[in-house]
């Protein structure tokens, strides 16, 4: 598999696209800034949210049991899945029980994590993503590049082209309003034809056994209200203790993610309507193991708002697909390697550790610190690249004592004088887009020794 660095390098071959991607996301980040300034005590709100989530993580079992009990009382069927495979099987078996051939889906990054679409298609169920962005990437046979703005990597002209290809629209259409209307008409058919609807869950309230789904397009409601079967899937960390806590999270979520005061729809689902069946699948898929890892536990507080993506200067310039995973960006660079360190060992290094993500995060996850820690774990478990490990060892040795350090300086000076071609060479990644710094006649140490050292 290609690494983030090489995929990002590919993305950067088209500089105009990088600029456009960067500016589009920065626009969202600025909207978020304006919104956060309009809430007095924004920082306090973040702190409260973080504490509620920490409480949840410390008492996860209790809240999950409470939630299950209340959900069952409400007439919802509750399922537990230990991993992606089990999750997919459970969903399929519910669909098979009802002989479902068409299903609509909305707002679920979890099903992306579990690769549910592929699995269902293979088993004869046609799945239609109904969030506009996700529908577009689905048509283009791609994956979302952002958890909240799944097709942020596509320009409107490209979307017109996709619609032309799959929805028989005239060529060259790029007016967003027209494109949206066309998608709406097409989706309407899918809604009417579907026998089941699957949604994600933003917040599951332990106290009431209800769950909340936040959308801007109302498509989760449309799906759930039309279909006979509503399946809602959640990672087990999505629980919050009480309904009153929603006030904290709903204020933070949309503001952080898209810069809206609140999502257009915050739909509460509490019990199936007459004649409908409602299922909840609670998925572990590595989460409880993550919970056991002290250093990384607190990244389970994530509410998937996407703010860390929008602010991340690396994400903005490398595009979501360079992270080769469902959840990209800074938080993805933590969650993925925690679950599968070998497959995602490149991601914690796809950061400058600038810390912007940490301070933008509405639940105060110390993202950049965790990236630092993950780097240590990856190298400690022997997964560093041999060349890098070798040069790091040499470097560490050269810096360990002043005599060795002086030798390093002399070697550098020698290299600069007699072998500049080794440095000024395209095999040197620094030199590709940057000049080398000049080597001065004397180091600071030499200057000090000469001018101050003896006569101080």
């Amino acid at each position: 598999m290609k690494s983030h660095a090489s995929l990002a390098e590919q993305f950067n071959r088209d500089e105009n696209r990088v600029d456009w991607h960067n500016e589009t996301l920065w626009f969202v980040r600025e909207k978020r800034d304006r919104q956060s300034h309009q809430v007095s005590d924004w920082e306090k709100l973040r702190e409260v949210a973080s504490k509620i989530k920490l409480n949840v993580l410390s008492n996860l079992d209790i809240y999950l049991m409470e939630f299950e009990k209340n959900a069952l009382t409400n007439g919802i069927k509750v399922h537990w899945a230990k991993d992606a495979e089990e999750h997919n099987k459970i969903v399929l078996s519910i669909l098979q029980d009802h002989q479902v051939k068409f299903m609509v889906k909305s707002k679920s990054m979890l099903t992306e994590e579990c690769h549910l679409n592929d699995y269902l298609e293979k088993n004869g169920v046609e799945v239609t993503d109904t969030d506009l962005g996700e529908r577009i990437v689905q048509l283009a046979k791609e994956t979302p590049s952002h958890i909240v703005l799944p097709c942020i990597h596509k320009k409107k002209e490209e979307i017109g082209e996709i619609f032309h290809q799959y929805l028989n629209t005239p060529k060259g259409l790029s007016d967003p309003q027209m494109l949206t209307e066309i998608a709406r008409q097409d989706l309407r058919k899918k809604f009417l034809q579907s026998q089941a609807a699957l949604t994600g869950i933003n917040f599951a309230v332990a106290e009431t056994g209800e769950f909340v789904v936040c959308t801007n397009e109302g498509n989760a409601d449309m799906g759930a209200h039309l279909a006979k079967v509503h399946i809602a899937c959640m990672g087990l960390e999505k629980i919050i203790p009480k309904r009153e806590h929603l006030g904290v999270f709903l204020r933070l979520l949309a503001r952080s993610g898209t810069g809206q005061p609140i999502t257009t729809y915050s739909s509460h689902f509490r019990k199936p309507r007459a004649g409908q069946e409602m299922h909840i699948v609670i998925v572990d898929n590595g989460r409880s193991e993550q919970l056991s890892k002290e250093k990384f536990r607190n990244s389970l507080k994530c509410i998937r708002c996407g703010a860390c993506f929008n602010t991340c200067p690396v994400y903005r310039r490398s595009g979501g697909h360079s992270y080769h995973t469902a959840v990209a960006g800074p938080i993805g660079s933590i969650l993925n390697p925690i679950r599968n360190i070998a497959a995602y060992k490149d991601l914690p290094f796809a950061s400058t550790l600038c810390g912007s993500c940490t301070h933008v995060c509405p639940v105060q996850i110390d993202l950049h610190q965790q990236l630092y820690e993950l780097r240590q774990e990856i190298i400690a478990s022997g997964m560093g690249e041999p060349v890098k490990s070798f040069s790091m060892k040499i470097l560490a040795r050269s810096l360990s004592h002043v005599k060795k350090y002086e030798k390093l300086r002399r070697t550098m000076k020698f290299g600069y004088r007699y072998a500049p071609f080794l440095l000024k060479n395209n095999a040197n990644p620094w030199y590709k887009h940057r000049e080398m710094p000049e080597m001065p006649k004397e180091s600071f140490k030499e200057w000090y020794q000469k001018n101050i050292g003896d006569g101080k």
Partner: protein, 250 residues
């Protein structure tokens, strides 16, 4: 107060003028400052690349060199932050000395504002200057407020720059975006790193900077490399050099 001057390895080797400016400036301000000759590096290049376990020797050396000072000052935010967060005594020994260092190490501008409380710097630099906020200093050491938070903005380095005669600090479109250096990131993610640096330069140049300055020479080294390659005509200077620039009018 006896102050130890820490000059990070890459400044010592490649940018001695920054060390000289920092030393001279502190001397001018009557600080009893000494440069311990046995120092090398803080260990950050290894640690940030995941090789924290290789820093035992540099840690040991650092503690040995700086343990007896009441304060340690360095013209580099990221090295100071690294020491603050990651300096360790070996096998539980020298732990107290490491803690003493961590509690008393300062980035240069932070030392000038918080310890010396300088409010009348005698310096002059009649140019248009763009100040690049290096992330580790800004977000790590809290040298300045940050755009992610809703709290009121402040900046220790800018507070000092404003005391420099004739200087004109320019406004940037993105007040505090990372320049893309990131230690070994600049090598392993060369493409993104260069692009970030290029964008950072553009912001400064577009807003009229003749000089770009920062508290971290590493960010500046990266920006300088790109500026020189692309012949952007903007000059790079460390903040210590500006703060030490002589006031000819007084």
């Amino acid at each position: 107060m006896k102050v130890g001057l820490f000059i990070p390895c890459y400044i010592d080797l490649l940018y001695p003028q920054v060390g000289i400016a920092a030393y001279t400036l502190l001397k001018k301000l009557d600080v009893n400052v000494v440069y311990p000759m046995g120092q090398t590096c803080c260990g950050q290049p290894m640690a940030n690349s995941g090789y924290g376990h290789l820093t035992c020797e540099t840690n040991k050396n650092f503690i040995q060199q700086f343990k007896d000072f009441e304060a340690i000052v360095a013209p580099s935010g990221s090295c100071v932050l690294h020491i603050k967060e990651h300096l360790k005594g070996e096998n539980g020994r020298e732990e107290d000395k490491a803690v003493h260092i961590q509690e008393n190490i300062y980035e240069l501008t932070e030392f000038l504002t918080d310890v010396l409380k300088i409010d009348d710097l005698k310096a002059s630099f009649p140019h248009k200057v763009g100040f690049h906020q290096s992330c580790h200093g800004q977000r790590g050491l809290h040298l300045s407020g940050m755009s992610e938070l809703t709290a009121a903005y402040f900046s220790k380095p800018e507070q000092l720059l404003q005391q420099v005669e004739g200087i004109e600090l320019i406004q940037l479109d993105k007040q505090d975006e990372c320049c893309g250096f990131g230690g070994t990131f600049c090598i392993t993610e060369e493409a993104v790193s260069s692009k970030m640096g290029k964008d950072r330069l553009t912001d400064h140049i577009k807003n009229g900077a003749e000089y770009i300055t920062a508290c971290d020479m590493s960010c500046l080294m990266h920006l300088e490399g790109i500026a020189n390659r692309e012949k952007r005509g903007v000059k790079i200077i460390h903040i210590a050099e500006i703060l030490n620039a002589e006031n000819l009018n007084r």
